[in-house]
């Protein structure tokens, strides 16, 4: 499904990571050439606006963290990128999300292809009620792969730092694993089909501290090959694991908007906005 059209809109707000205006085709894996560009993105659930005019550039091969208080629209924003909100009745988005130069919400965009290239890991580990092996092989089978599945499953489980723990019990149910293992299984499942971006929606909120650290270490390793966007309400996690941080909060109308974004170090040590300073120091939220 090669339906990548150049974006028609030439300019994208350049906030935070410096994005060249009129970015079209992916040329090199540099942060100057963002994997995702969000321009004036607003999201509605029926008449309720959950996200207001968000503009972001998501740099390639980095971890970008979306932080902010509960209900500020972080997850909504994240789920708009791979159009998971299509499943929500009454959802509507305005603005533009460009993935490698193609609008993800354009009529011509194949949502199936989009989701194969932009994978997702959810808040609660959601392995299928199938064996560990079949969980990882799921996406490959959808793609019609028949040969080399064994090798790809092993590779994905190794990449997700789970192989050593499960190599002797691949035929056991995915649900028999611990919470942290299940989440790494879900990461292995996501990377098995070699996406370009992995969206993580509070992937550690259901996990214990040890498993959380394992996932964070894993994220640092995965950015060699993937671009990661993570939603977290855990500021320590954002500070530890991300390269860029976007801080969102709610306006008076309860719509989430971006207060500040930039390199994680700067956001946490020298925030420009008082709201950010209050939030990252734990005085609010």
């Amino acid at each position: 499904m090669n339906e990548r059209e150049p974006v028609t809109k030439p300019s994208v707000s350049q906030i935070g990571a410096s994005a060249p205006s009129g970015a079209t085709e992916a040329t090199s894996a540099s942060s100057k050439n963002p994997a995702l560009l969000l321009e004036n993105v607003s999201c509605w659930y029926g008449g309720f606006r959950a996200v207001r005019e968000v503009s972001l550039a998501i740099p390639r091969n980095k971890v970008t963290a979306l932080i902010g208080p509960s209900g500020c629209g972080k997850s909504t924003l994240l789920r708009s990128i791979n159009r998971m909100n299509d499943l929500v009745p009454g959802f509507r988005m305005e603005g533009e999300i460009a993935f490698e130069g193609t609008s993800v919400h354009a009529r011509a965009t194949d949502v199936i292809d989009l989701r194969r290239r932009v994978g997702m890991v959810f808040q609660k580990p959601n392995p299928f009620p199938k064996s560990i092996f079949e969980n990882v092989a799921f996406g490959l089978r959808l793609l019609g792969e028949t040969t080399g599945i064994d090798a790809l499953v092993e590779e994905s489980l190794r990449a997700a730092a789970l192989w050593d723990e499960v190599k002797d019990k691949l035929d056991q149910p995915g649900l028999s694993l611990s919470g942290g293992q299940q989440q790494r299984l879900c990461i292995a499942r996501a990377i098995a089909i070699r996406p370009e971006v992995i969206l993580m929606d509070e992937p550690c909120s259901a996990l214990d501290p040890k498993s959380t650290l394992q996932i964070e270490e894993l994220m640092r390793k995965l950015i060699r090959d993937y671009t990661i966007v993570i939603v977290t309400h855990n500021m320590q996690q954002a500070a530890r694991a991300s390269d860029y941080t976007v801080f969102l909060t709610m306006g008076d109308d309860r719509a989430g908007y971006v207060v500040e974004q930039g390199e994680t170090g700067k956001i946490f040590t020298a925030p420009q906005q008082q709201l950010t300073a209050d939030y990252v120091s734990g005085r609010f939220g």
């Binding site: 199936i112 989701r115 194969r116 959810f122 609660k124 959601n126 299928f128 799921f138």
Partner: protein, 307 residues
């Protein structure tokens, strides 16, 4: 209980507590009616069946292949009745299970909220039509239709016609319970599947149906139980000819049809036929009770998977 309270209560509190006790008594009594009735029915069935087994050895009853309760020489081998009952239930399930499951998949995964809110009550109305109407439908519509199209030699009464109409009758049950099972699959599994680039149908086939399998199996078994116990539609459509056959074009007599025949006729209560009624009834009860137990067990097991 109230006596230990040191808090001063106004007089009305005591009245309220007496009212509470009365309500509790009424609730207990209502629950007891159901239990006592059930125990009573089972006792009568078993005791009367025992009187029957004094005259006809259980071995003859359960292994006999000839049933003749009204024409001499009498024979009370229950196998023809059980076989025709299961034959009709089988035909019904062959029809109702695929259609019911597909209807449920459509309702739960493809139909819009608005359409679902219209369709589901219609299905439930279908389930509320008196079954004798279905019987009429079989002999006035289904049988003539079959005769006019594929089976010109079909008689007025046939297992096929009965099976088809019972299939239509249990279809809403299968569809409704399967839809419940599909909707009980956690949203996270759907999202996980869609996030990997699965289409709706791939999600249904590879994730939802396997995940809901035990719930669907429970629905099927409940439908089978319903088909086995179905009476009026079957009496009208299948006839009252007790014979051991697997040929669906023949007229047969099911267990329920025999019970109707004896209950409605002028059979003396002391006669062997009347006693046979209870033996057949007890057998039928044992079958449907077992099926319901299996169904309940499947549902319980399936709930444990995700909670």
């Amino acid at each position: 209980m109230a006596g230990v309270s040191t808090v001063h209560r106004p007089d009305s509190a005591a009245t309220t507590r007496r009212g509470e006790g009365l309500i509790e008594f009424l609730l207990r009594a209502s629950a007891a009616v159901g239990i006592v009735t059930t125990v009573g029915i089972i006792t009568v069935l078993v005791v009367e069946a025992l009187f029957f087994f004094v005259e006809v050895p259980p071995v003859d009853f359960f292994t006999g292949t000839r049933w003749s309760a009204s024409i001499l020489p009498y024979a009370f081998g229950v196998i023809p009745l059980v076989t025709s009952t299961l034959l009709i239930a089988f035909i019904a399930l062959v029809l109702a299970v695929p259609l019911g499951v597909l209807a449920a998949v459509w309702m739960s995964e493809f139909a819009s909220q608005r359409v679902r809110l219209i369709i589901k009550p219609i299905l439930e109305i279908l389930a509320g039509i008196p079954t004798i109407v279905y019987g009429f439908f079989a002999i006035t519509v289904i049988t003539p239709l079959l005769k006019a199209t594929i089976l010109p030699d079909l008689g007025t009464f046939s297992a096929l016609s009965a099976g088809i109409v019972v299939g239509i009758l249990v279809l809403p049950l299968v569809a409704s319970l399967t839809e419940d099972a599909l909707r009980a699959v956690p949203r996270g599994l759907r999202e996980g599947s869609y996030a990997l680039g699965a289409t709706r149908w791939e999600t249904v086939r590879r994730v939802l149906l396997p995940a809901a399998l035990s719930g669907i199996a429970a629905a099927v078994i409940l439908a089978m139980s319903r088909a086995v116990g179905e009476t009026m539609a079957v009496v009208l459509a299948a006839g009252t000819n007790p014979q051991l056959t697997l040929n669906p074009t023949e007229s047969v007599q099911t267990m329920t049809a025999f019970i109707v025949q004896i209950s409605l006729g002028d059979t003396p209560t002391e006669s062997i036929q009347f006693k046979a009624l209870f033996a057949v009834g007890a057998t039928l009860f044992a079958i449907t009770f077992t099926l319901n137990l299996i169904s309940a067990w499947l549902v319980a097991r399936y709930r444990n998977v995700y909670e």
